[in-house]
Every structure is written in structure tokens, then in C-alpha cells.
């Protein structure tokens, strides 16, 4: 099975190779042939959520072209995958591009969704000795509708002691530009999230979206707390 990796700009620009590398290695372990279209950039969400839809369309058209020959597009982000799924709405009055956008939508998956729903995997054979909790990101659960897949896979990780996060469905306060436009509110939201994480006694916070993890992790660092933040791909690739 041929899979094209959509890395996301955060995993590309901000974070070191680990998240992308783990994604590639997991997919290959299960027989996928992974390629990385080099011309990929960002899903366009910063512009879309800020109301700059003309600009978003330029980005979307580029991304549609980048992935036009892909069999499957898999991304280590629920939020960015949700954005790819949003593309058809951008082209309501442009049938040609709408059809292309629909095509990209139909073959785009978030990583855990792809593993569970397409590859039908429930155990990735990973091993990690740690007490952990999981942050369910809003776009992934509510908008993309992927609720069970991450938990299914995490449960299979040997050595992982898991505690459910209190108020897990509550937003961490990232919200893209919200995090810099509404700093005082975002601060209260992320404080509550960190407090709930601490209540679980977890050593590791796992998440499937680098946006949320950058927000929560950044606050954890600022508060000088010893909680490690890991992307789910890194956990599922631990040995």
C-alpha cells in the first residue's frame, strides 16, 4: 500500500524529525510504502480560522496538487487532517476544484485513524514503561470524529500505565491564533489542563496534535514541571 506522508508545518518547521520519523517507521512496519512529497507546506488552517479564505484557497490548491497522485495521505495530526477535509467547502462555487478537494478528502487520514480503520491494526507492538495520560484534541474528536482509535492503539503499548485525564474533552486553550490573540483566556484554559494532567500523576502526556502539545508543553515548561510531552506516533514507535 502506498502512503504519502503529510507531515504538517509544525512537525516540519518547529519540531525535530522524531514525529515524522516515527510516523514513517510505524507505517513501514505494517507494510506501507511511504513517500514524502517535498513540495508540501501547511494545510492552511491559520488563514482559514482567521477568516482569510481567499488566501486559504491558494494554499489549498497547492496542497491538492502536491497530493494529487497519492493513493493515501496520512498525517500525524487530527487538526490538520480535519483542515484537508474542510477543503471542499472552500470551493462551493468552483466545481472543478471542489471535485479535486473531495478526492483529497476521501483519501486523507489521521495516523491512528489510518492504522485502525484502514490497516485494521489494534496492536502496534510498542513498548514504553511510563505512567501516561492522553489529551483528546478537539478537532480530531469532534470534527474529524476520531475518538476511539488512539486509545485502542495506546492500550496495546506494553508497559504503559494509563490514567484517564479528568475533563478530557475540554479544550487546552490553543485554538491557533486564539493562543496569541486571547492570551489571558488561553492562559486560564491551559492552566486548568495542566492541573488536570498533574492530578493523574502521569509522567508523560500523550497527544495526537502538535498544536495542543506545543501549547500544553510550553506551559508545563514555563511552570517548571517535570511532565514529558510525547506525540502519539513517538509512543507507538517506542521499543
Amino acid at each position: 500500500m502506498k502512503v504519502s506522508l503529510f507531515l504538517t508545518c509544525l512537525a516540519d518547521v518547529v519540531y525535530p524529525a522524531s514525529v515524522g520519523k516515527s510516523t514513517v517507521e510505524i507505517l513501514e512496519r505494517f507494510g506501507c510504502e511511504v513517500d514524502f512529497p517535498k513540495k508540501q507546506t501547511c494545510c492552511g488552517q491559520p488563514a482559514f480560522n482567521s477568516g482569510y479564505h481567499r488566501e486559504t484557497k491558494e494554499v489549498a490548491k497547492h496542497m491538492i496538487n502536491v497530493f494529487k497522485d497519492a493513493e493515501y495521505v496520512v498525517s500525524p495530526s487530527g487538526s490538520c487532517t480535519t483542515m484537508l477535509h474542510e477543503y471542499p467547502h472552500l470551493f462551493e462555487d468552483d466545481p472543478e476544484w471542489k471535485q479535486k478537494a473531495e478526492q483529497l478528502k476521501s483519501k486523507s487520514y489521521e495516523l491512528t485513524q489510518f492504522l485502525v480503520d484502514v490497516l485494521k491494526i489494534t496492536d502496534v507492538g510498542a513498548k514504553l514503561n511510563a505512567k501516561a495520560t492522553y489529551h483528546t484534541s478537539c478537532h480530531m474528536t469532534r470534527l474529524l470524529g476520531v475518538k476511539e482509535a488512539p486509545m485502542t492503539l495506546l492500550k496495546s503499548v506494553e508497559g504503559l500505565e494509563f490514567t484517564e485525564l479528568p475533563n478530557k474533552e475540554q479544550c487546552c486553550g490553543f485554538g491557533g491564533t486564539f493562543s496569541v490573540k486571547m492570551v489571558p483566556i488561553s492562559e486560564q484554559m491551559v492552566n486548568e489542563k495542566v492541573q488536570h494532567i498533574e492530578e493523574t500523576d502521569a509522567e508523560v502526556l500523550v497527544g495526537a496534535d502538535l498544536g495542543c502539545l506545543m501549547n500544553i508543553g510550553g506551559r508545563i515548561n514555563r511552570q517548571g514541571k517535570a511532565i514529558k510531552v510525547m506525540h502519539i506516533a513517538e509512543v507507538l514507535n517506542s521499543k
Partner: protein, 476 residues
């Protein structure tokens, strides 16, 4: 005042909210209780998504045919011996209501809870006539006693107050001497209000839904105050937003059931009242004269636009009860009688973008509101739509942001520019980074690092692209 409840600027209101520990405890506690009850009560209905689809269909159908149903309603109200008045503006509504009150030479008016009368500032209009207007909903009554403290929630208006604060208000304003036990305080309120119910010449109510086929209005309460207000006074005035209508009793059944569950997690409220026309011969009670005031006040402008679904709202406040922003800032931070996600959508529509420009951005777009809305208003999408209108049509976007977004789109749609940018960025950010973290970033990054650290941007051999390329070359 209209919908506006504060002259403070948005961030001043937010700071006040965040620093109000009493309010925040009350709000987060209430949110959790109400969410829990809501989930319990909807699970008893079977497939909630089927119910939501049905409710959405009912609301959409009604809005698409609003002219027809309003006319049917008007005809039936008149047939039943009532009067109907269509008010295009708040002023027109108030003038009509004042004229009715003046014709009765009424001095005392008893009210049941109504958001639309707050929206049009009806109380102030009647007070200018020298009338005493008494709120009989317990929450509203508390706020009225407390020097007209504005509501902070559309269903539980005094949500921001705890029982000690309420006891103080009762003691200061009405000489209450007993404890802060909620039962004892409710009993006191009952005693105090009873006299007003008996003396009022006019009763004024809101309207949860009007029923077009019979010209009826329906009211849901847990306190029974709406029944008192509609049976004792000789004259009844009901004020409704023009969209609060259902075709028949069958649709009313669906929506009331969903309203009670979504709002307070009850199968049904303690009182569900249906009122049709005036008192007839042989009736024990009921008004001799009935007036239905249908208020537009900006609603018809929303019809037919991309925001029409906002008019599907049945004012249950489920979106408010799950909103993580509301949770931390409280209702007063929104500066409007309509707080929370639905407020952030409605206020710029009922008012304008100048006054309400921050509200559409006061959301992480987490979608919790959209998920719980019983009539399937895509609330978070409507917030994005407001942002789009502000950027593309209303000219409200800051110049620097426009420039940044143009730059972003240019880079994100041209790989060569993107690659040069992402290669240069780490060295630009380099001087700000220490031990792999940026704690005091430049420009827009500063806003991020005001409260959190940012990872040092990946560069060179650490980057995924380098790893993947080397691998292709057989390097790994």
C-alpha cells in the same frame, strides 16, 4: 442599553471575570453539574442524533416558511380574541407595550423570564411611565434587587452569584434575616413575590414557542411563576422574538422535550404552560385581554444570509454550559445579555461588528458548542464566518494581520519560498533560544512566550526533511 450590559472594553471585562474567584467557582461547578444532567437526560431518549436531525429539520422548515407561519399565528391569535402587534424595532415594541399599559392605567407589572424583553430594554421603557416592573423568575428577581446586576447566563441569569451573595442581597434590600439555605431563601422570595402577583394589573411574559396552528403560546418554567403571571392579572402581554414559533403542537412536543433536556437536564420542566386566547365564559382564571408582540429587531436581516441557522436557536444555553471560554471568563465578559458561543454569533448580527468585533475571536473553535446544540447550529463555523466577513467585507482586520496572512499564503503555496523561510527562521530565532527553548520571543512570538515556552525551531540535521533525504540516499 439593549443587548449591551457594560461600557467596559472587552479585555477589561475579561480581566474582571478571570479575577472573580467566586464567579469562576460557581460557573465551573454549574457547568459540570449541568453537563452531567444533560447527558443523563438525553441518553434516556434513545438516539439523540436522530432527535437533533428532527429538531434541525423543524427549525429549518419553520424559518424557510416564517412568513406563512407568522400569518397563521396572527390570524389565530385574533380569532381567539387576542391582539397581535408586529414590531420592527425595539422602540416600536416598547411604544406598543407602553400604550397597552397606559390604557389600563396600570402601576404594577409582573413579569416572567424573557430574554427578548431584556433585548429591547422593555423594563426601562415601562419604568419611564412610572410603572413598577417586577421580575418573578427567582434568578431575575435576585438580579433586579441587586441594583439591576446584568444576567450572566440566558437560562440561569444569576449563575455568577453564590448563595451567600444572594443572602446578602436579600438582607440589604428586603431585610431578610434568615440563613443562606436555598430552601429558606426561596420561601422568602415566594412570600415577597406573592403580594406582587396579586396586585399586578398587567402580566408580561416571554414565549418559548408560539404554536401557529392554534394561535397559542407556550412557556416552560420550574417555578410556576409564568402561570401566576398569566392567570392573575387581567391583562396579559406576551413578547416573542419573531423566530420563536412552531407549526403545530406536534413539533412543540419535540422541541420542548429537547429544550428541557438541553437546558437543565430535565425530561420536562415542572411547568409547561400552553395558553390560547383570552378567558372564556366559565373559565376560573386567565386574562381578559391578551396582546402578542412579535419582535423583529434585526432578525429578518439575518434571514436568507449565511447566518440564518443562528435563528434556529431555542435559547437552551447548552452551548454556554460546555464552553471552555465561558467557563473561565463568565457571562459578563461578553458584555451582552447573550453570552457564550450563541452570544458571540448573535451579538454582531443584532448589533454590529464595531461593537462586537472581539467576540467571534473569543473562541478556540473547539466545537464543543456545535456538538451539543440540539438544533444543530454550526456555531463554531458561524464564528469563522464572522471572522471572514470582518476580513473580507467589513474591513475590520488589522493591517499587520492582513500583511502577515498574505505573506503566509504566499509562502504556503510556493514551496521554494516556504523552504527558504523555514531554513532561515531558526537562525532568526536563534538569539532568543536557550537550552532548546524560547522564553522571550520577538514580535508576534512574544505573545506566545508571555505565558509559555516555545521549542527551539528544528534545523539542519535535526529536521525531518534531512532525515528522510539521507534515508533515500541510503544514509540510514
Amino acid at each position: 442599553m439593549g443587548i449591551k450590559t457594560s461600557d467596559d472594553k472587552f479585555f477589561t471585562r475579561v480581566d474582571k471575570g478571570i479575577n472573580n474567584d467566586f464567579m469562576r467557582k460557581a460557573v465551573s461547578g454549574a457547568q459540570e453539574r449541568m453537563q452531567g444532567r444533560r447527558l443523563d437526560s438525553i441518553s434516556a431518549l434513545g438516539d439523540w442524533e436522530d432527535w437533533r436531525n428532527l429538531a434541525e429539520e423543524i427549525r429549518q422548515h419553520t424559518l424557510e416558511n416564517l412568513d406563512f407561519y407568522l400569518e397563521q399565528l396572527a390570524d389565530n391569535v385574533v380569532k381567539n380574541g387576542g391582539n397581535i402587534f408586529f414590531a420592527e424595532t425595539a422602540e416600536e415594541a416598547n411604544e406598543y407595550i407602553k400604550s397597552v399599559v397606559a390604557s389600563k392605567e396600570a402601576k404594577k407589572i409582573i413579569k416572567s423570564k424573557s430574554m427578548v424583553t431584556e433585548e429591547i430594554s422593555m423594563n426601562q421603557a415601562l419604568e419611564s411611565l412610572g410603572c413598577e416592573v417586577i421580575e418573578s423568575d427567582l434568578g431575575e428577581w435576585i438580579l433586579q434587587l441587586d441594583d439591576h446586576d446584568p444576567p450572566s447566563h440566558i437560562v440561569v441569569p444569576a449563575l455568577h452569584k453564590n448563595k451567600e451573595q444572594i443572602r446578602e442581597t436579600f438582607a440589604d434590600k428586603r431585610g431578610y434575616k434568615r440563613t443562606s439555605d436555598p430552601k429558606e431563601m426561596a420561601l422568602f422570595a415566594r412570600e415577597q413575590l406573592r403580594k406582587d402577583f396579586l396586585e399586578a394589573e398587567v402580566g408580561i411574559t416571554g414565549c418559548n414557542f408560539a404554536v401557529a396552528e392554534s394561535g397559542s403560546i407556550s412557556l416552560v418554567t420550574n417555578e410556576g411563576n409564568a402561570r401566576m403571571a398569566t392567570t392573575i392579572p387581567k391583562t396579559q402581554i406576551t413578547v416573542m422574538g419573531m423566530e420563536r414559533i412552531v407549526p403545530t403542537w406536534e413539533e412543540l412536543d419535540v422541541l420542548v422535550s429537547m429544550l428541557a433536556r438541553s437546558a437543565v437536564g430535565q425530561k420536562l420542566t415542572s411547568y409547561v404552560t400552553g395558553l390560547t386566547g383570552t378567558k372564556e365564559e366559565g373559565d376560573v382564571d386567565g386574562p381578559e385581554e391578551f396582546h402578542l408582540v412579535v419582535v423583529d429587531n434585526g432578525r429578518s436581516k439575518i434571514l436568507g444570509t449565511q447566518f440564518q441557522s443562528a435563528l434556529q436557536c431555542i435559547r437552551c444555553a447548552a452551548c454556554i454550559n460546555v464552553c471552555p471560554v465561558y467557563r473561565h471568563v463568565g457571562g459578563h465578559s461578553y458584555g451582552s445579555i447573550y453570552p457564550g458561543p450563541i452570544g458571540a454569533v448573535l451579538n454582531p448580527l443584532l448589533g454590529d461588528y464595531d461593537e462586537w468585533k472581539e467576540l467571534p475571536y473569543a473562541s478556540t473553535l473547539c466545537g464543543a458548542c456545535t456538538e451539543v446544540c440540539p438544533v444543530k447550529i454550526p456555531l463554531h463555523n458561524l464564528l469563522i464566518e464572522h471572522r471572514r466577513v470582518m476580513v473580507e467585507q467589513a474591513g475590520k482586520a488589522p493591517f499587520a494581520e492582513k500583511l502577515a496572512m498574505k505573506g503566509y499564503a504566499f509562502a504556503a503555496s510556493s514551496p521554494s519560498v516556504y523552504n527558504v523561510g523555514t531554513k532561515t527562521a531558526p537562525s532568526v530565532m536563534g538569539p532568543y533560544s536557550k537550552n532548546g527553548l524560547i522564553s522571550n520571543g520577538p514580535g508576534p512570538v512574544k505573545l506566545w512566550t508571555d505565558i509559555r515556552d516555545l521549542p527551539e525551531l528544528s534545523k539542519g540535521k535535526d529536521k525531518f526533511r534531512t532525515w528522510f533525504e539521507n534515508r533515500d540516499k541510503g544514509g540510514e
